[in-house]
């Protein structure tokens, strides 16, 4: 607004520093990913995706996200509904427990799964008897993904639902609506943008998760590698073009997430302003 009295050079310096930082730490790596991926031309870039191991990694990532996101959606809705609309003992504990995956290192959460489900773990012998594999297999990858993404949906919904209260639900009940009708026609439409926002963040994290998945996956090519794990392997084998090609997919996902996030944020603001 020109109200601040700072001289022009201070302003330019601040803007310059910010842009330099963003450029070198965010923009430059992004550019590097795409240039490295396309170093040997478009044909080589595309060829990296037709490789069976790469395809398997993409498929597993989609599967893990495809399970983790809906499950966390249901959990997030159930948890936030319970927290916002009812009073029950242990509520405060539940709220802080939901944040646990944020607080601990993903590697630790992976380790916990190994300790519980691994061959030497608590449930290991029982699972081995029934020839069920969780660790170093697809179920482990899915479980680890679910664990690290658990808070995203609930975190978005809880404050919104608490703010909205239960009056509309009561109004619906008095008008003769069943619990399901109330949920579908009143509660869900009232939180839809926050839910979508949570889903977008949850999905981005699910597809990009490295630490927890790395511990439980066992890095079996074509079987238990997700995209981030596959990228690491390719990179360690000096297969830079293929590594950056797969990485560019994740980078694209990030850009799409950013765009979707800002659209949803705008809608949420509009709804709030109403």
């Amino acid at each position: 607004m020109g109200r601040l009295a700072e001289p022009r050079w201070v302003r330019n310096l601040l803007i310059g520093v910010t842009l330099l930082f963003l450029g070198s730490f965010l923009l430059l790596p992004l550019v590097v990913v795409f240039t490295e991926a396309l170093r040997n031309g478009l044909a080589a870039y595309l060829a990296s995706f037709s490789e069976p191991d790469a395809l398997a990694a993409i498929r597993l990532t989609l599967l893990a996200a495809g399970i983790a996101v809906p499950v966390n959606c249901v959990f997030g809705l159930a948890a936030s509904w319970a927290i916002a609309k009812f009073e029950f003992p242990g509520k405060a504990v539940l709220i802080s427990l939901i944040d646990l995956p944020f607080a601990i290192s993903p590697v630790i959460s992976g380790m916990v799964y190994v300790l519980v489900f691994g061959l030497q773990g608590w449930l290991g012998p029982w699972l081995a008897e029934r020839e069920m594999r969780i660790i170093f297999a697809v179920p482990g990858v899915v479980l680890a993904t679910m664990f690290v993404t658990l808070p995203y949906v609930a975190r978005e919904l809880i404050p919104l639902m608490q703010e909205q209260g239960i009056e509309e639900e009561e109004a619906a009940a008095v008008l003769g609506a069943s619990g399901w009708q109330t949920f579908r026609r009143v509660t869900l439409p009232n939180v839809k943008w926050a839910l979508l926002y949570g889903v977008i963040l949850c999905n981005a994290r699910a597809m990009g998760e490295f630490g927890a998945v790395s511990v439980v996956s066992g890095h079996i090519r074509g079987l238990t590698n997700t995209m981030p794990l596959h990228i690491e392997i390719l990179y360690n084998e000096y297969n830079f073009v293929a590594a950056f090609a797969v990485a560019s997919l994740l980078a694209l996902l990030a850009l799409v997430t950013l765009a979707a996030k800002s659209v949803v944020e705008r809608r949420m603001r509009q709804e709030e302003a109403q």
Partner: protein, 358 residues
């Protein structure tokens, strides 16, 4: 449809919201639950609606037309409820809000699409909102939201209409208009209606009968005239309209308040018992000279002459500060001014004798 409440108790932790409330609402009447905040009136209304459950006390029951509905939940009671803050569905238009109760009916008893449409427009016409059917609640004024809430509640053809502080959040002018309109509407529809309010004027103006509530108990039930002119308790007297209070004692069967003596106290009481005299501002008379009646000397503190009546604040010789309402005519006659010394006499008052415990 008549409503009957028997032995209703409701406690929240250590707080007793309702204490053995028994009440009968007659079919077709408009009853007001009047009381200060925390008196339990809203809790009682929510218990009638099924939004709140009374404590399981032997003999406790909620009856609609002599049928116990205690075990029915809110969705099954078919009541119309208007919430204090309207609780309109924010993601739905006015039309959809009013149609909601009709659309969630089980398929068997649900009206056809066209019938629902017709019914919604009929209701919107009743509340004068047919032009705003496609608006969202956020685009409406407070008074309009209130009317949408009422139309929505009426859509399911309720046996009972329950209104929780229906005009509480509106400004004075809109409130007055809606009050008159609600009374007219009730006279047309004759739905048994219970209205919760903390505004005594509202209750006196709108209701057929008033239930005065205090601390989870009913103080008095009666017509507006009865509760205003014949208050059964001190609380009712004080809560309904402004009053002046004089403290005194019972002496040889009479209640004595300085020079003012009341011959027959409301209750026989022992000599020496503390007594309290309540006099409405319009039941005190100001005279510039003694007029023969027992009177108190007082000094005028303040005069407020804007309004239908002139309001005069006075300090009595006995130390009480009182408020008196006189007509403009009388005010001009006497030519009163602040600091003038005058004589106060009483047309009528109500004496309460304190419970005398030994």
């Amino acid at each position: 449809m008549s409503i009957e409440l028997r032995h209703i108790w409701r406690t929240f932790g250590h707080f007793i919201a309702l204490q053995d409330v028994n009440l009968e609402v007659r079919s077709g009447e408009l009853m007001a639950l009047l009381g200060p905040s925390g008196s339990g009136k809203t809790t009682l209304l929510r218990i009638i609606a099924g939004l709140e459950t009374p404590d399981p006390v032997p003999g406790s029951a909620v009856l609609f037309r002599d049928q116990d509905v205690s075990s029915r939940n809110a969705a099954e009671r078919q009541v119309g409820f208007v919430f204090q803050h309207y609780a309109l569905f924010r993601n739905m238009t006015v039309f959809e809000n009013v149609a909601f109760g009709l659309r969630v009916q089980p398929r068997k008893s649900r009206l056809s699409k066209d019938a629902i449409r017709a019914r919604v427009y009929e209701l919107l016409k009743l509340v004068h909102l047919e032009d705003l059917a496609q608006r969202y609640p956020s685009q409406l004024s407070g008074g309009q939201r209130q009317r949408v809430a009422l139309a929505r509640a009426l859509a399911i053809q309720p046996q009972v209409l329950l209104l929780d502080e229906p005009f509480g959040a509106l400004d004075a002018k809109v409130r007055q208009g809606l009050r008159t309109w609600l009374r007219k509407l009730h006279d047309e529809l004759h739905v048994t209606t219970v209205l919760v309010t903390h505004d005594q004027e509202e209750a006196l103006e709108v209701a057929d009968r008033i239930v005065v509530m205090n601390r989870g108990q009913i103080e008095q039930v009666g017509t507006p005239d009865e509760v205003f002119h014949h208050p059964a308790t001190e609380f009712t007297m004080e809560f309904l309209g402004s009053v002046n209070l004089f403290r005194g004692r019972i002496e040889s069967g009479k209640a004595v308040f300085g020079p003012l003596v009341v011959d027959r106290p409301a209750r026989l009481a022992t000599d020496g018992a503390a007594a309290r005299l309540f006099v409405r501002p319009h039941d005190l008379e100001i005279n510039t000279a003694p007029n023969g009646k027992p009177s108190l000397r007082a000094r005028i503190l303040r005069i407020q002459s804007a309004g239908a009546l002139v309001k005069v604040d006075l300090l009595c010789e006995t130390g009480e500060q009182v408020n008196v309402h006189i007509t403009h005519e009388r005010f001009r006659e006497m030519n009163l001014s602040p600091d003038a010394h005058v004589y106060l006499s009483m047309r009528q008052g109500k004496v309460f004798v304190e419970d005398y415990c030994i």
